[in-house]
Symmetry: C2
Subunit: 340 residues, 2 copies
DNA sequence: CTGTTAGCGCGTTCAG
DNA sequence: CTGAACGCGCTAACAG
């Protein structure tokens, strides 16, 4: 049975109603509901019964206000359609389970102005930590973050100095390693297919690392195409077609990520180009779908779940912002695959 | 410049600090920040200046408590890794822009018990509406929803009676239409490859609609494989291989969704089976990636963005729960593609 | 083991 | 156009 609520009264059941019904004081109900302080088993049962009968739902606005602690973690990701971010959120959720904390998620669409608005609006909920992607924020956003004493985790990237905590891996290094790996496998004529660098600075870092590795082997990109929009399979497909149409003959094409690379594979399959035999293809991210292809994509796996989980674990372990910043490398691995 | 905050004081800047600085009362600051009531332009500018100088961030816990209105919408989706839900969230965000409302997102992992917990915990934030996926909820969850006077939108599905508002399309009908369409194209020997029905009831509805359409044409599935886990490309690939290994020779295989169907296409490409010529393949959802294949996937597009957007528009337009329930059909379209 | 007192920071009255 | 008083629902800090 689930109590009343009846009629016009807008308000729900409050603590005092539960307390009255159980013939105890409000604070006792509050303690029982929060498993705090010593409580007689008999009282607890009586109160829990009253809670059930009334259908009481605590008001966390009031609770948070009274205790100056919201048990909220603000999270801002650039996108949800790029599957890597839902995977990071998976790690965040995993770390939050059983802590009583709840994530409030914002999506910035890779737009720093939107990120700034979201930071303001999430900070208004007095979260106990904020999780962001990358190091680029507007000055106003930085000021708000500094001004609020909350812990700040910047994810994905560790190539710059963090505000507080950075968790991710070096994208420049990953690009560099991919270049060394491919050179080591005998490739010499490198093509590059990328997407918008303005929005996705990490893609540019990987590109720069790749180019640096090539230079160390006295090589350079023979051809490069960059799409203006965000990464997508269709964009990768179109861009590879455009690159090949230019007439140069790369023996390998490195893509800005797996989404783009998948499109590259599809172009090859449609055009009768045999991946690896005729043209090698290399991605980044190590998405499951790339590994389910007839020829698994050669790529690098980043550890998105671990990145999200580590950030939360760390930030909840130490709630005050420490004096010095910390950087945690969650690494990456080459997936040899069958396309390079 | 961004004010102090200095030293040990845990608390941030409050309204009264801003008020003191601007030499007005708190309520005046409050009004200015909420664009409410008549305000002298001079005062407004002075106050805004003080807000900037102090780096004041409103406390929504306090604001919500005082006004009994949180400007929050609770959203619970079964998954974020299934791309259809991020797309629904995209529609929700689009509808929320400029309204001052903010979505709080929970992920249930297709688990009704987790959904129940999330409902309890989101309701504690006193949202002004709740958005859920599907019609299946635990009795306790239903009770909490009924008990809170908030509006409730149930998305994706319109095959049952909603609590308040349902937005989506009929999955049974979609399955039925796909069957009629494929029969109309001359297919007779139908195979089915699906994933876990316990978790994804809508997949089962589509299956049942398909089977019904076949029965109307005096046909039946010649072979059916269902994976126990969630849908994935790899699962689709494995399941199609398993189905074909059984020796029956379908001329078309219908998959529970595009993820699975993509795996089917990959299996065919790897095994030298020509999609459509040797074996037709049909999916559901109309994901972009399926349309970027060398041979675009034949499938049905559901309108996820519209579903999310419509639900929020509707629910914000009328904030009290209306006397009677409403059902909005956002439809679907057949994408002919090239695999069936 | 339980209760009392006093706010948390803001918005809703109602007066000026 | 601006302000004073009050309370939203809950919890911290003491008592007892």
């Amino acid at each position: 049975m689930v109590g009343k609520r009846l009629a016009g009264r807008r308000q729900g059941v409050t603590l005092s109603e539960v307390a009255r019904r159980a013939a105890v004081s409000e604070i006792t109900v509050s303690r029982i509901l929060r498993n705090t302080g010593p409580i007689a088993e008999a009282t607890r049962l009586r109160v829990l019964q009253a809670v059930r009968e009334t259908g009481y739902v605590p008001n966390r606005l009031a609770g948070g206000l009274a205790s100056s602690g919201s048990k909220l973690v603000g999270v801002i990701v650039p996108s949800l359609t790029n599957i890597v971010f839902p995977e990071v959120l998976g790690g965040i959720r995993a770390a939050l389970v059983g802590t009583g904390f709840q994530a409030v998620i914002g999506v910035s669409d890779y737009d720093l102005a939107i990120e700034e608005e979201l930071i303001a609006s999430l900070l208004a909920w007095r979260p106990e930590a904020m999780v962001l992607a990358g190091f680029e924020h507007t000055p106003a956003a930085r000021a708000m973050l500094d001004n609020s004493a909350v812990r700040v985790a910047e994810l994905m990237d560790i190539d710059s100095a963090p505000i507080d905590l950075a968790v991710g891996h070096s994208h420049w290094q990953a690009g560099h390693d991919s270049g060394r790996y491919l050179v080591g496998r005998g490739y010499r004529r490198f093509g590059y297919v990328g997407h918008d660098w303005m929005a996705d600075r990490r893609a540019k870092l990987r590109h720069d690392g790749l180019v640096a590795a090539l230079a160390e082997a006295s090589l350079a990109l023979v051809e490069s195409v960059r799409n203006v929009g965000p990464s997508s399979t269709q964009a990768g497909r179109d861009a590879l077609a455009a690159l090949l149409a230019r007439g140069s003959t790369p023996d390998v094409v490195v893509f800005s990520n797996d989404d783009m690379a998948l499109g590259g594979v599809f172009h090859c399959l449609g055009a009768g180009i045999r991946p690896k035999d005729d043209l090698a293809l290399f991605g980044f991210n190590g998405l499951d779908i790339g590994q389910a292809l007839p020829m698994p994509l050669s790529t690098m796996r980043s550890n998105r779940f671990l990145t999200g989980k580590t950030a939360i674990d760390r930030v909840l372990a130490q709630r005050e912002r420490p004096g010095k910043t910390e950087i945690i490398d969650t690494g990456y691995q080459i997936l040899p695959g069958a396309t390079a």
